[in-house]
């Protein structure tokens, strides 16, 4: 789950990281009031769950008397398909140096890895591509945590200039935040050294581990459903793993691997999937019925491909759910099915004479549904 910059900064501040004073505004007047309260130059920043806000014009400096106009331009702006509904109004900082400090979960080392770079204020992935030696990495021992001397060593090796103790403090506090909130990513970019020598997190990003949200009910509440696709919200209420995609073939299957493979087959046949939907293991008829109903509701869907390999999931339970959806008339588009595995024969006899197209082989089924939705694109 992604957090907004202002939320990430709040969490960092709770762990001792200095952040610029700031408040959130939902209207231009509110932004002006906040800026006047601060009584000095502010930065007004769009709060949307997407990178590249600056390039899109969603981050602007303003004097207090300009804040209303500047905020008015940013609010309502569309950034990569997301409408800006709130802005962070923060005191502007005098930047002497811009650094990068971040933590990720690294699969190769199976550790939380600290990354520090002198090249801050820019896209770190770009730095990783063009100048990888500018990023110093340190895998943290999960049982010892990040110690101050380790952070000092990384600060030195990365060539950061400024008060080494204070820089190391911020890095240790960033690690403590990461572990404290069960993050999957936490970064301060830029980590600013001001003209006065103060160290401050001018921008921050935190993603939370969805698997650990149960430990953080206060953070789980921050989920913003308006930022997600309505079908993704409905799917999550049913407990489905669902991803909205931009094609027209609805895809349903059991098991993430099989569903991914089914998307690949649709693409191979020249089609474009409209979604990823995994009904999970051991799904009963009702679950399948809900899945079909959900996918059929998507106006982009011109045909549905249901790919089932029965294991713990019984193919006949799947068939019953599909038949119920067909009989209730919730499906107005062609349905292609492929069933194999546990209770395959029972499923086939249930499906006999029903208005679906049954194929023994996944690739053949993919080709068929692509033809039905109007052929390869």
């Amino acid at each position: 789950m992604k957090l907004h910059e202002f939320q990430a900064k709040e969490l960092l501040a709770q762990h001792g990281v200095p952040v610029p004073t700031g408040k959130v505004a939902y209207a231009p007047e509110e932004a002006e009031r906040i800026a006047k309260e601060f009584g000095k130059r502010v930065v007004i920043k769009a709060q949307v769950h997407v990178g590249g806000r600056g390039k899109a014009g969603g981050v602007k400096l303003a004097q207090p008397d300009e804040a209303r106009e500047v905020a008015g331009k940013i609010l309502g702006m569309d950034i990569k398909g997301l409408t800006v509904k709130k802005v962070l109004v923060a005191e502007a900082v005098d930047i002497a140096k811009e650094y990068y400090a971040g933590l990720i979960i690294d699969r190769s080392t199976q550790r939380v890895v600290l990354m520090v770079s002198k090249e801050g204020g820019v896209d770190i992935e770009e730095v990783a591509r063009t100048n990888p030696q500018a990023i110093v990495k340190f895998p943290v021992d999960p049982h010892k945590g990040l110690r101050h001397f380790e952070a000092r060593d990384v600060v030195k090796r990365a060539g950061l200039e400024g008060n080494i103790n204070r820089l190391a403090n911020v890095i240790v506090q960033l690690y403590n935040t990461f572990v404290g909130v069960d993050a999957s990513l936490a970064e301060i970019n830029p980590l600013v050294v001001t003209d006065q020598g103060d160290i401050i997190a001018a921008d921050a990003k935190i993603d939370l581990d969805d698997n650990a949200l149960f430990r953080h009910p206060d953070l789980a509440k921050l989920r913003e459903i308006e930022a997600e696709h309505p079908l993704e919200i409905e799917a999550s209420n049913y407990g489905f793993a669902y991803v909205k995609l931009d094609g027209d073939v609805g895809v349903i299957g059991n098991g993430a691997g099989l569903v991914m493979y089914t998307l690949d087959l649709v693409n191979r046949a020249g089609g474009k999937p409209a979604n990823f939907l995994d009904i999970g293991g051991g799904a009963k008829a009702e679950v399948v019925y809900n899945a079909v109903k959900l996918v059929a509701k998507d106006p982009d869907v011109k045909g549905i491909f249901i790919n089932i390999f029965g294991g713990i999931t019984r193919a006949d339970e799947v068939a019953k759910g599909v038949i119920q959806a067909l009989e209730e008339g919730v499906v107005k588009v062609p349905v292609v099915m492929r069933v194999a595995g546990t209770a395959e024969e029972e499923a086939k006899s249930l499906l006999e004479g029903k208005p679906i197209y049954l194929y023994p082989n996944s690739l053949e089924a993919a080709k068929a549904i692509v033809t039905m939705v109007g052929g390869a694109k």
Partner: protein
């Protein structure tokens, strides 16, 4: 022969009295797996499915010889259960549970490895040595004894591949579902040496998917060390960047985890890659000629 488990393997089930634990214990017993005891804290002293239940793993291993443990406890307690088994001296721990907090796994995987214990999973279907023993949740009937070792990040796709291999007459030796999470106990390259040394395994199929770089690391190991033929498969080749495709680990981040990178690594190691499940069988046949 097989790797890791066979019909002699004595198995402990942690979470045996829960719905999932009970169901899959019955299935494992029906397959021929030697389940010797179960553990559910607070339910010690009872019997479940014909075996005694203990409060702790320590008590269970005091009364029984245990070679492996399989874990069906809820996500919040799963990493702790794996550590409990490892500290009690169980040498093979299979963690089925899905949705375990990642930092729990980061801490547990390191500690379990330091103890010299093999952990498979979490969020995995487990492992099966065809017609011998099953420590997992896969449908046993699709696995026919044969010559191919199978390692996979996916569950259902593994069953598909196993069914195709069984139907073709090639069959499988041991199949290991390593799990779909970012931090897992055992990766492809940890298992390849075991298959290399198993006299009954003539070829290995590696079913990978987008996300991470386990496939690349496996390919590099194969290039240097493996004489037996290997066939690859990559799921999610058409998936968009930055979207999590069901598995927590199946996500392309920046340039890491792309299908292009994995296909390139396989090509460099001369590993043929199947585009469809049916093609896996054809390629294995061709390699074995």
């Amino acid at each position: 022969m097989s790797i890791l488990i066979n019909k002699e393997t004595r198995v402990l089930v942690q979470g045996i009295t829960g719905r999932e634990g009970r169901f899959h214990t019955e299935q494992m017993q029906a397959y021929g797996t030697k389940v010797v005891a179960g553990v559910t804290p607070g339910k010690g002293g009872r019997d479940a499915l014909g075996v005694p239940v203990y409060d702790t793993v320590k008590e269970a291993v005091a009364d029984h010889e245990v070679d492996a443990s399989i874990i069906f406890v809820p996500a919040a307690a799963a990493a702790d259960a794996a550590l409990e088994a490892a500290y009690a001296g169980v040498q093979l721990v299979v963690l089925i549970t899905e949705g375990i907090p990642t930092l729990d796994m980061v801490a547990a995987v390191k500690e379990i490895k330091d103890l010299g214990v093999r952990l498979i999973g979490g969020n995995c279907p487990g492992l099966i040595s065809a017609e011998e023993a099953k420590l997992g949740i896969m449908p046993g009937h699709v696995f026919k004894k044969g010559r191919v070792g199978l390692i996979s990040r996916s569950g259902t796709l593994t069953y598909e591949a196993a069914a195709a291999l069984s139907e073709s007459g090639l069959g499988t030796t041991t199949t290991v579902g390593i799990g779909g999470d970012p931090i897992i106990g055992t990766t492809f390259k940890d298992l390849l040496p075991l298959f290399k040394d198993d006299p009954d395994t003539d070829a290995v199929v590696v079913i990978g998917e987008i996300g991470g770089s386990d496939e690349e690391e496996a390919a590099a190991w194969i290039k240097e060390n493996m004489e037996k033929p290997v066939v690859g498969f990559i799921g999610g080749r058409s998936a968009p960047k930055g979207k999590r495709m069901g598995h927590a680990g199946a996500i392309i981040m920046g340039d890491v985890g792309t299908p292009e990178s994995k296909l390139k690594a396989f090509a460099e190691a001369n590993i043929p890659v199947a585009d469809t499940i049916d093609e896996i069988v054809e390629l294995v046949r061709k390699q074995l000629k």
